[in-house]
C-alpha cells in the first residue's frame, strides 16, 4: 500500500515564526502536492512538484514556499506564519503512469496564534 506520512498531526505556532511541514511518501512517486483545507472551501492547491527540485505554484501560493531535495520528501514552508494560515494541511502524492489517483497523508492541523 502507498503510504504518505506527515511529520505532525497537530502544530501550534506563533505569528511570525518560520514553520516547516514535512511530507514523505514511500512509493517512488514523481508528483507531490500540498493542499490546505478550510471549511466550505474544500481543498485548495498551494504548490506541487513533479520532480526533484522542480516546483509549480498552485492556486494559493502566497505566503508559502516548498522544497523538494529528495524524491520521497516534499516540505511546505511558511516563512512568517500568520493567523490566516491556521488550517488543515494535506500532502498527497501520485505516480506518473496510469490513472490520476492521488494518495493523501493524514493531515497536519496548524494553529497560528
Amino acid at each position: 500500500d502507498v503510504k504518505v506520512t506527515q511529520s505532525s498531526r497537530y502544530l501550534v505556532k506563533r505569528t511570525g515564526e518560520k514553520v516547516f511541514l514535512e511530507c514523505v511518501q514511500d512509493m517512488d512517486h514523481e508528483n507531490m502536492f500540498w493542499y490546505r483545507q478550510d471549511p466550505g472551501l474544500g481543498l485548495r492547491l498551494i504548490y506541487f512538484s513533479y520532480d526533484v527540485k522542480m516546483k509549480e505554484k498552485g492556486d494559493i501560493p502566497e505566503g508559502y514556499s516548498v522544497s523538494r531535495e529528495k524524491k520521497e520528501r516534499f516540505s511546505l514552508i511558511l516563512e512568517s506564519a500568520s493567523t490566516n494560515q491556521t488550517s488543515m494541511y494535506l500532502c498527497a502524492s501520485r505516480g506518473s503512469l496510469g490513472d490520476n489517483e492521488q494518495f493523501f497523508g493524514p493531515g497536519t492541523r496548524l494553529t497560528v496564534l
Binding site: V4, N31, F33, Y35, G40, L41, G42, L43, R44, L45, F48, Y50, E56, G58, L90, A92, R94, D99, N100, E101, Q102, F103, F104, G105, P106, G107
Partner: protein, 114 residues
C-alpha cells in the same frame, strides 16, 4: 476555468436510508472523476474513480457513482447508509494531460441518525 460544484453542504439521513450526493463539474471535455471520503481527523480516502467505459462505477464500502455526460454530473450513491458512513465527501476532477491537478468541490458533510 474548471470548477466542481457540490450543491449540498450538509446532508442528514437515517441509518438504512438511501443516499445520493451530487457533484457537477464545468469542463469542456470529459475529465477524470473521483470521490474521496474524509472521516473526522483523517486524511482523504479514495472511494471510486471514473476514467472511461461503463458510466456506472462501483467503489469501496458499497458506494457507486454514475457519470452523466449530458448533465456534467458524477453523483455518488449508496442504497443503505450505515452510521460509520458519517464523514465529509469530496468530489474531484482531474484534467488529462499537463500536470493532472485535482480540482475539488467544497465537500458535503454527511450526518447519519440512528
Amino acid at each position: 476555468a474548471q470548477s466542481v460544484t457540490q450543491p449540498d453542504i450538509h446532508i442528514t439521513v437515517s441509518e438504512g436510508a438511501s443516499l445520493e450526493l451530487r457533484c457537477n463539474y464545468s469542463y469542456g471535455a470529459t475529465p477524470y472523476l473521483f470521490w474521496y471520503v474524509q472521516s473526522p481527523g483523517q486524511g482523504l480516502q479514495l472511494l471510486l474513480k471514473y476514467f472511461s467505459g461503463d458510466t456506472l462505477v462501483q467503489g469501496i464500502k458499497g458506494f457507486e457513482a454514475e457519470f452523466k455526460r449530458s448533465q456534467s454530473s458524477f453523483n455518488l450513491r449508496k442504497p443503505s447508509v450505515h452510521w460509520s458512513d458519517a464523514a465529509e465527501y469530496f468530489c474531484a476532477v482531474s484534467l488529462s494531460g499537463g500536470y493532472n491537478k485535482l480540482i475539488f468541490g467544497a465537500g458535503t458533510r454527511l450526518a447519519v441518525h440512528p
